[in-house]
């Protein structure tokens, strides 16, 4: 952001205090929703850590923000990226090591609230490719517009459309099967 004055000790301290206050306010208002977003994207038990890292990134890059309103989209984009990296990392690790998946325990806790008719849908959602899952979660849970989803995912609006359509097609099969059953 651009409230550039001479860098005296006082102005630097005031800028630091402003940044802390703005971040505290953002945290207060959006932390729970962001942790939920990270969980839905696949961060599971690391969701709070991922969101914490995103806030640290925002703290570091605060001066580069266009405006305070850009903070939330920035956080979303960082979270989407961090979760994608985490999922990729786990996929690689799981190829080499077999262990009891902690995520399954966390998933089991959140699944306790899921109704029987939703279980297949939730399982199918978890099985989607990362980009498809991101597009669907950002659209149907956060209710973002295509342009906002594109910004959060770092891709074009056309690609968002394609990922959403492919994800919906896969979930549609599950829903159809449920309709038949």
């Amino acid at each position: 952001m651009t409230d550039e004055g001479p860098d005296t000790v006082e102005t630097l301290a005031a800028r630091d205090a402003d940044r802390e206050a703005a971040l505290a306010d953002l945290f207060q208002r959006h932390h729970l929703d962001l942790v939920r977003l990270a969980t839905l994207l696949g961060a599971e038990s690391d969701a709070e850590d991922v969101v914490g890292d995103a806030f640290c990134e925002l703290h570091r890059g605060w001066k580069r923000l266009r405006s305070p309103d850009a903070a939330l989209p920035y956080l979303r984009a960082v979270i989407v990226n961090l979760v994608r990296m985490r999922v990729r990392h786990l996929q690689v690790v799981r190829k080499h090591v077999e262990w009891v998946r902690e995520d399954d325990v966390a998933s089991a806790e959140s699944q306790a609230l899921v109704r029987d008719d939703q279980r297949a849908l939730v399982a199918a959602l978890r099985g989607l490719a990362a980009r498809q899952r991101e597009a669907l979660v950002l659209r149907y849970w956060l209710g973002l517009k295509e342009a906002e989803i594109a910004e959060a995912m770092g891709i074009s609006a056309g690609a968002v459309k394609a990922h959403t359509a492919r994800g919906m097609a896969k979930l549609g099969k599950v829903l159809e099967a449920q309709g038949d059953g």
Binding site: A24, H31, E48, G52, C56, R60, Q118, Y140, W141, M168
Partner: protein, 80 residues
């Protein structure tokens, strides 16, 4: 919104509603970003000091290496 979309939205909402955060989350994250900021400033200060020390060292070496009759800094244009 179609029926399928509504069902997806509902399933996501149900999944999300089970997620809770720890009560001291803010203090933890705040101490993390403060720690990182301190470390970043420390690294910048250390790098700046290293650059200054290196520049001083090079300058001292250049000055001490020159013959005493050769004036590196003050060149007297009238001297022959």
């Amino acid at each position: 919104m179609t029926a399928s979309e509504q069902r997806i939205e509902e399933a996501l909402r149900t999944m999300a509603s089970g997620v809770r955060t720890s009560p001291d989350a803010f203090l933890q994250v705040q101490s993390r970003w403060r720690r990182r900021e301190r470390r970043r400033r420390l690294v910048v200060a250390a790098l700046a000091t290293a650059v200054i020390v290196a520049a001083d060292g090079i300058a001292l070496w250049a000055l001490s290496d020159a013959p005493p009759e050769q004036h590196i800094i003050f060149n007297d244009p009238t001297a022959r």
